[in-house]
């Protein structure tokens, strides 16, 4: 399937080039984000009725994992409010670049941190405390506030969006899964970039800022680190950058060779399976352990959690790889073939999220009418009773998601394996066993 250049449409092009539509969205998102922090801190401590819990962990999560990531890749990053205050301070402006830039430290992030290991760690930290985080409004409020202030702090020390690129716990997996999305930002003609003087898309110009994601658009081959902020479309003097519609999973044809990204795939795959067991499974002891942060049982849970992600899942994967014969070094084979786990993990998360989003979606209506828990009934839905939605289609939809994930993963494994010159069968078998386990956990 050929690509369709969306930016050819003058309406889309103008909407992207102008800063005002984006600014309007930014302001709404930032106001909503700050309101969510306040609601978490001063609203009712009952999670199911608190705006911060309901809108962050049910509504936002549903939009993110079921719509934004699969269809728009880093579409969420394009409108995320977390880096905005820091970025505006860093730039000294909210619109076009000012004549005089403020003097922040503007350091380059040290080389040892220029990977997604910190994001892997920050995600795991939240994941280990997630049972409490997802149900306790003031902890959600604090975490949201910490992320906002961390982003501001990093913007004053380091250049560009250091928080988004290297620390954001969500950004890591959005980047990984954005490779499967049918949308991309790419250059149109490489030769134009080669000849372009000053590379304003990376270094900035009077028309706009250098790539906040520290990416040279001319070299983009994957979605992983492009935050779709649209800045390069504004700065490119040759109109050489486009937003394209493309087939799903186009980036997966170019397997990664990075271990941080490979482990991100295992972290996400393992977390989805563990969450399914803890949050949806019938095991009370497991649930108690996950909720009992700081207790002995929780430490055991945390150790098992990490052992599954860093030991068991990559361990069996490696065993499968050892059965294959290839001239490629083992590390490279490991990283390259773990690409097959990207669509698998994404569909695991879709299947898992369907369950708790449809179960809890009815809370959204009640929280909308009384966001601060003060007895309001703004839209007449404050007393909307909790009821699971679309229960009849839940199990078939989850099964379908998992089957699609398995087929998608097998197809990706075939491509990665042929590039690595090995047999895809062990990886397909691995994906099959993982899918069967997930199916058992969910149904």
């Amino acid at each position: 399937m050929a690509k369709i250049e969306l930016t050819r449409n003058p309406f889309i092009k103008n909407a992207i080039k102008s800063r005002y539509p984006q600014l309007a969205v930014f302001i709404v998102m930032l106001v909503g984000y700050i309101f969510a922090i306040l609601a978490g801190l001063i609203g009712t401590p009952v999670g199911s009725h608190n705006f911060s819990i309901v809108f962050v962990w049910i509504a936002w999560w549903a939009v993110l994992i079921l719509v934004a990531v699969p269809f728009f890749g880093r579409g969420w990053c394009a409108v995320c409010p977390i880096p905005l205050p820091g970025e505006w301070l860093q730039r000294g402006a909210v619109l076009s670049p000012p004549e005089k830039r403020p003097k922040w430290l503007n350091l380059r992030v040290p080389k040892m941190f220029r990977n997604i290991w910190l994001q892997n760690i920050s995600f795991l930290l939240l994941a280990l405390f997630s049972s409490v985080l997802l149900t306790t409004p003031n902890i959600t409020g604090i975490v949201l506030a910490v992320m906002l202030f961390a982003a501001i702090g990093l913007s004053t020390i380091f250049e560009r969006r250091a928080f988004c690129r290297y620390l954001c716990p969500v950004g890591g997996f959005i980047g990984l899964y954005s490779q499967t999305a049918p949308i991309e930002l790419r250059i149109k003609d490489k030769q134009v970039c080669v000849k372009c003087e000053g590379k304003p898309c990376y270094n900035g110009s009077a028309a706009g800022y250098g790539c906040p994601w520290d990416v040279f658009p001319g070299g983009l081959t994957k979605n992983t680190y492009c935050g779709l902020c649209m800045e390069c479309i504004r700065t490119c003097p040759h109109d050489n950058i486009a937003i394209n519609l493309r087939p799903f999973s186009a980036d997966l044809a170019k397997p990664s060779t990075r271990m941080d990204e490979a482990f991100k795939a295992f972290i996400m795959l393992g977390s989805a399976m563990i969450y399914a067991g803890v949050l949806l499974g019938p095991w009370g002891t497991l649930k108690d352990a996950a909720y009992g942060v700081g207790t002995g049982a929780w430490f055991i849970y945390a150790v098992v959690f990490l052992a599954i992600i860093f030991g068991i899942l990559p361990g069996f994967f490696s065993l499968g790889l050892l059965k294959t014969k290839s001239n490629l070094p083992f590390k490279q084979r490991f990283a390259s073939l773990s690409t097959a786990l990207i669509p698998l993990g994404l569909m695991f998360w879709v299947a898992f999220s369907l369950s708790f989003v449809l179960t809890n979606a009815s809370y959204i209506l009640a929280a909308l009418s009384d966001p601060l828990g003060l007895g309001w009934n703004l839209f007449g839905t404050a007393n909307f009773a909790w009821q699971p939605m679309l229960t009849t289609i839940l199990a078939p939809a989850q099964t379908l998601a998992l089957v699609v994930g398995l087929i998608w993963s097998a197809r990706t494994a075939q491509k990665s394996a042929s590039e690595a010159g090995v047999s895809p069968l062990p990886i397909i078998f691995y994906s099959f066993v993982a899918t069967s386990t997930m199916l058992w956990l969910l149904l």
């Binding site: 600014l23 302001i27 930032l30 106001v31 909503g32 700050i34 309101f35 306040l38 609601a39 001063i42 609203g43 009712t44 401590p45 009952v46 199911s48 009725h49 608190n50 505006w88 402006a93 909210v94 619109l95 076009s96 000012p98 009384d370 601060l372 828990g373 003060l374 007895g375 007393n383």
Partner: protein
């Protein structure tokens, strides 16, 4: 600075001020009484000011489980307070004083400690004389042991007692307070100069206790017991309510040994089916225990919650664990 940039900044600042200020403003200007399990703080605030003749509207929410709200000694329907939901009630006081409000749902082990006060100010239209409760005027030591040394071999039966009582040559009601101030065992002893056997005397005692109450009182007492007492003392009065095991466990940790008339085991609900204890207790003594509470035992004081009539109804019902009354 360019005009567009300036306007954008102003818009952003207004947005941030609204996002922070609006929730804080509405939060501060909407007083809500929060209910939490007693271990986590109970009612917050737990003291409310009101004025005689001025209706006061109170908003409640629960921060954890389902709680209930009622004001002691007031004729009002208790109201449920649901987690995360706001429920409101309008109260009107016609007499000044300090009223106790309390949780009406078995919300947790220390449910009984979930109490607060409403301080109602204003001048009393018609001051009422205050008379001390019976146990005080009788000068009873309600913490002293009061076990009955003799107990019936079978459950005393009021219907049998009625026919025996009519044949007795003596007046079984020497004074109006006779029943209230005497324990079943004392009445049993007073009947020793009759020709009745021990078992017959216990039947007469059962009849006396039955004739001092009504079916309505017993029914009312039963409801009060089920709502307020059964969680610890058990549905059938055996001291085995749903919280009894937890109370015993908590008691291990918070055991308080009171030196004095007797050592008291903290947190052990009394067994009303135990005849030694119940037949040695007069209604006045039980009134004292209910009014004041069992100090140091975990038994709360009910004087500020139950009316006098409710307490007598409850006491009448407690004796039904010992006597078989006419159905």
């Amino acid at each position: 600075m360019r005009r567009a940039e300036l306007l954008s900044r102003i818009l952003i600042i207004i947005g941030i001020i609204l996002a922070v200020g609006a929730p804080l403003y509405f939060w501060k200007s909407t007083p809500i009484i929060h209910a939490q399990m007693a271990d986590d703080g109970g009612w917050s605030p737990d003291v409310i000011q009101a004025e005689v003749g001025k209706p006061i509207r109170l908003k409640f929410t629960s921060d954890d489980v389902v709680h209930g709200f009622a004001v002691g000694q007031m004729d009002m329907q208790s109201m449920d307070i649901l987690p995360g939901k706001v429920t409101d009630v309008t109260l009107n006081f016609d007499k000044p004083g300090i009223y106790t409000f309390f949780c009406t749902r078995w919300c947790g082990l220390n449910h009984w400690r979930m109490r607060g006060t409403i301080e109602v100010s204003g001048s009393p239209s018609d001051p009422e004389p205050i008379s001390p409760p019976l146990y005080v005027s009788l000068d009873l030591d309600i913490d002293a042991p009061h076990d009955a040394p003799i107990i019936p071999s079978q459950t005393p039966f009021a219907i049998r007692g009625e026919s025996l009582a009519t044949q007795l040559p003596i007046n079984i009601y020497p004074s109006p307070d006779y029943y209230l101030s005497h324990s079943p065992y004392q009445v049993f002893t007073d009947l020793s100069n009759t020709s009745l056997s021990e078992s017959q005397r216990w039947d007469v005692v059962a009849y006396i206790w039955q004739s001092n109450t009504t079916k309505e009182s017993l029914e009312n007492g039963k409801q009060l017991y089920a709502q307020n007492c059964a969680a610890c003392h058990g549905e059938n009065g055996a001291g085995d309510g749903v919280f009894a095991d937890d109370l015993a466990q908590a008691g291990e940790a918070s055991m308080q040994s009171m030196s004095g008339a007797m050592d008291m085991m903290m947190q052990t609900p009394v067994d009303f089916t135990d005849p030694t204890r119940m037949l040695g207790a007069s209604p006045a003594l039980l009134q004292g225990k209910i009014l004041r509470g069992g100090m140091g035992t975990g038994m709360p004081m009910w004087g500020s919650i139950f009316t006098e009539e409710q307490i007598w109804d409850l006491i009448a019902y407690l004796y039904s664990f010992q006597f078989e009354y006419e159905k």
